[in-house]
Symmetry: none
């Protein structure tokens, strides 16, 4: 089977000037990989007519699928739409359905549509309009022989929704894609190189048509198995068997599979056990609660949090005993035990968790350096604490400590 090749083209001076980091193309690469399409090149050009037209022509020579993001705003510096019309040699016309959609978008938000907004519905007549459910700029799909050009907004959440809902299904319709079976095994609490050591024999035994990738993120490593072939059932069986062989090696670090983030896996465990959760978070400053509440339906098990950022608030609002705080300081095991127990009692939940640490850059002492964080888990059976020594980076510490608490909940919950 001939491989289907893709090129990702990002348009906008803001990328070339370095004012934004392009995270879109990484996400798009992963989504295309899932349906067996290989990205052979990524290109970014500025808001310059000749550069854009040249990039269109070069990409068309190299790739079957050309995915373009950016340059779709209604303002004068946005050139993608008129240049696609020019490249495909067709005129622009007001698209009735697109105009309805953009009008409805504003109406729903109680705002009047302006003349400039209406221009979003002006589309090249040779394209198929792709609806933008959460923004004003429609996408455009251009067929030319065996190839396709797709233009999407550069705003990440608009692009992602459009790509998942419309573009991926349309690509699968137009092209015969190989059969690719993925399995992502999600681990937390172990570093990439230690994990690689643990599973090296298993990794070396993989057949050539099944590849392994390590995908590290803060506190986590995902293992992605990718099998390529023609018989989906056979691939599924092979990957299932390989996963079963991996599990005893990776042990308690494995928390789930596929797209399910740690906060969802923990939420599911709480739901299954019919347990409720409350949080007292200090150094994580709200990020832990945000992870928990980013899961739809989390209100079924998460009742609430206290963020006692200030020393006085730790005593007066949360109720940590002054003598415990004064003797041990806010960042200490006795204090974190108090925090977890108290929030559990006050909020009347089955489980209470807590964080206290030095996120940095300020606040360190010789005994308590930046990156020192205490975390605790409390239920009616036991209280579990953990001391972390993280990095010197404030945001990284906030995120890594929050992930560590979710993992602590996972490992400390009573068995079902």
């Amino acid at each position: 089977m001939k491989p289907i090749l893709a090129e990702l083209l990002t348009i906008g001076d803001e990328i070339l000037y370095g004012q934004i980091v392009d995270t879109n193309s990484q996400w798009m690469s992963v989504e295309l990989g899932k349906i067996g399409i290989k990205v052979i090149r990524k290109t970014s050009v500025g808001d310059v007519e000749t550069e854009i037209l040249t990039a269109f022509a070069e990409a068309e020579k190299r790739a079957d699928v050309i995915l373009i993001t950016g340059g779709l705003g209604p303002t004068n510096d946005d050139l993608t739409k008129p240049l696609l019309a020019k490249y495909f040699n067709c005129e622009m016309k007001m698209h009735a359905e697109a105009l309805e959609e953009v009008t409805a978008f504003f109406k729903k938000r109680g705002r009047e549509i302006t003349e400039i907004n209406k221009l979003q519905a002006l589309l090249p007549v040779c394209c198929t309009k792709i609806s933008n459910a959460i923004g004003t700029a429609p996408g455009m799909w251009f067929d030319r022989g065996e190839k396709v050009f797709v233009s999407m907004p550069g705003v990440p959440y608009e692009m992602k929704k459009m790509m998942s809902d419309h573009i991926i299904p349309k690509i699968k319709e137009k092209f015969i894609t190989p059969t690719i079976v993925h399995n992502v095994i999600r681990t937390v609490g172990i570093g990439e190189s230690i994990l690689a050591d643990k599973i090296s024999d298993w990794e070396n035994s993989l057949p050539t048509h099944i590849k392994l990738a390590y995908l590290p993120s803060i506190g986590e490593v995902k293992l992605r198995l990718t099998g390529t072939g023609s018989d989906e059932n056979k691939l599924q069986t092979e990957i299932k068997l390989l996963t079963e062989k991996l599990l005893p090696l990776a042990g308690e670090y494995v928390y789930g599979y596929g797209e399910e983030p740690l906060q969802s896996a923990v939420g599911k465990m709480l739901t299954e056990r019919n347990l409720t959760l409350s949080i007292a978070e200090s150094c994580t400053g709200g990020y832990l609660s945000h992870l928990v509440t980013s899961v739809p339906g989390s209100s079924h098990y998460f009742l609430g949090s206290m963020i006692p950022y200030d020393y006085q608030i730790k005593m007066r609002q949360l109720g940590v005993k002054p003598e415990v705080l004064e003797k041990n300081g806010a960042v200490s095991e006795p204090t974190i035990i108090e925090m977890a127990n108290i929030v559990r009692a006050k909020f009347n939940t089955d489980i209470g968790v807590a964080t206290s640490g030095i996120a940095g850059p300020g606040g360190a002492t010789p005994e308590k350096p930046v990156g020192l964080v205490w975390i605790a888990y409390s239920d009616k059976h036991h209280t579990v604490t953990k001391k972390l020594q993280l990095s010197t980076d404030r945001l990284l510490n906030i995120k890594a400590a929050s992930v560590a608490v979710l993992n602590l909940i996972r490992l400390s919950l009573p068995a079902r």
Copy 2:
């Protein structure tokens, strides 16, 4: 003056597969921009000989400075070095000084150098070696007529140190660079197209050597002015005057300049006024507190938060009157006023803010659709509320509502 053009070329399958996000090229763009070099294209190709050689040739046609990262490891899948030797038609030889450096690198870490490591010092004879102070792969500088190719490691901290210490100074030696002056004006609470309408006369009056770009993100639009010329003082003055003319048009939507995010601008306002803040956040679930505490030093003005996610917690822990909740529901103006006033009183802060809404996807009623959010600001002088109708996307609603509260604080604070 002829502009000096640069192309950034990233080599490696890990970029095309989406296994890593390329943050290098954003940093490099910013550094080049500071010395007046314009990046005209970014290209990423995989570990494939023909792709890499083609990319070299294409880049040489377009740009004066070609900066290459990645593909410098000592293993067989790293092709950059042998292909640069091939492209410049020169042989590879062991470079005595480079060998000393890589040997010293291992010795310093108490490790024996292996034969594979020694290959790092094998360099094309036609290049100038660039020392890598914190890694094993040296950089390479190739002059060809008026143009230059530079190859650097892909590891971000190695690349950054090499670029700052060696490459930027060498580029400034070789080229006469223009002067570029940027000013970023940050706005919040107004959409891109409405803002464009408001400032269209001003935008149309810009001289050709000063460009405007709109950079939208959730709840915000940044306006970037970029002036190119030879006289820095003149450009600074021009851009300052243009910014002053813009301000009355963009009015209260402008909150700051440059790299300073909204949460830092609000933090600075609180610090200047010597005011403290507490938060009662329901539908935003911790994200608002996270934004506030992501700012280093926020503990000077932010005392704490309550996240009364559950209905009962709103009454029992926060202390919202049952009759107010029962009569109006949690997502209502009377309740949000109570929440902001109560958290301010309980936490004994100057300012209290609150959020309550339907983040979605569940929880909607005919009168209260997904995306409906009430926010409030309270200080001793007044209480200000705002009703938002956001999207159907949970995470987007959480983030947009949090930004709206920061903006509400900004607009409601007492004058200094």
